[in-house]
């Protein structure tokens, strides 16, 4: 059972205090978008074996959504950061690259 540190309140919350929100950094496509764009937003998911970026909500805590980078295979957590981020922080990206040289990036 995972433990993730909420970047807002600093609580190291266990999974039962959190609720999952699936893949992070999806771009919303609304009216005017093509079918392909809408599909990418609504349905296409990376589901990688390895480094993955996810949304979590500290639902039994401060109620804030945050983002987490973790390895889906080993459950290593590289870091968590606020949901108000359009891309992962540079230091986190650097940390993951150092640990996983084969990682192709979050996009």
């Amino acid at each position: 059972m995972l433990v993730l540190e909420c970047p807002y309140c600093g609580v190291k919350a266990e999974e039962t205090e959190l609720s999952p929100g699936y893949e992070a950094h999806l771009k919303r496509f609304g009216p005017g978008s093509s079918d392909e764009e809408f599909e990418s937003y609504m349905f296409a998911r990376k589901n990688p074996k390895g480094v993955h970026f996810e949304r979590w909500r500290h639902v039994y805590g401060c109620g804030k959504w945050f983002l987490a980078a973790r390895c889906t295979a080993t459950l290593e957590v590289f870091g968590t950061y606020p949901a108000q981020s359009s891309e992962p922080p540079a230091d986190l990206v650097a940390k993951i690259k150092a640990k996983r040289p084969d990682w192709k990036g979050y996009k």
């Binding site: 807002y8 309140c9 600093g10 609580v11 205090e17 039994y60 805590g61 401060c62 109620g63 804030k64």
Partner: protein
Amino acid sequence: MSDPVSALGGATFDGFARVREIGPIGMVTLRAKDVAGLAEAVKAVTGTALPAPRKIEVAGERACGWMSPDEYLLVLPYAEAGAAIASLSKALAGQHFLAADVSDARAVFRVEGEKAAQVLAKLSPVDFAALQPGELRRTRAAQVAAAFWADGDGFTVVCFRSVGKYVFDLLASSAMAGSELA
């Protein structure tokens, strides 16, 4: 008008720790962040400083707890919630905030005694040894949301009113004599 009635009418349980429902208690949810005069506005209502993240500032029967980066819980006598909201609204007028009376939406308990923490340790995934002085911990108690802080000879526990009986029964079951953890 009738007198306000708390969720369980002051139920109590005596085990290796004592559990009692207290209230009704005045509570105001204040959502605001980086607003001019916030600390003064809160102080005028609770008499406390604005709490640091995850902390609660207590002054007698009043308190202000940090709930999230843009939310505070103001605790005060039940009858004063309306006036508190009016005071906040006046002080923060023209700025972005939300103050809502939630006095009736909560059930509040005291869990008291030397081993009070053990009662909560059966229900919440919280490391009590690592709990800071004055920490307001939001978590879950078994299957529902709860918040508590250490105060006096025990803890004050807050949950939603509709599950007040569930939480009281949980606390009572956890506090049963003979089930001490140590």
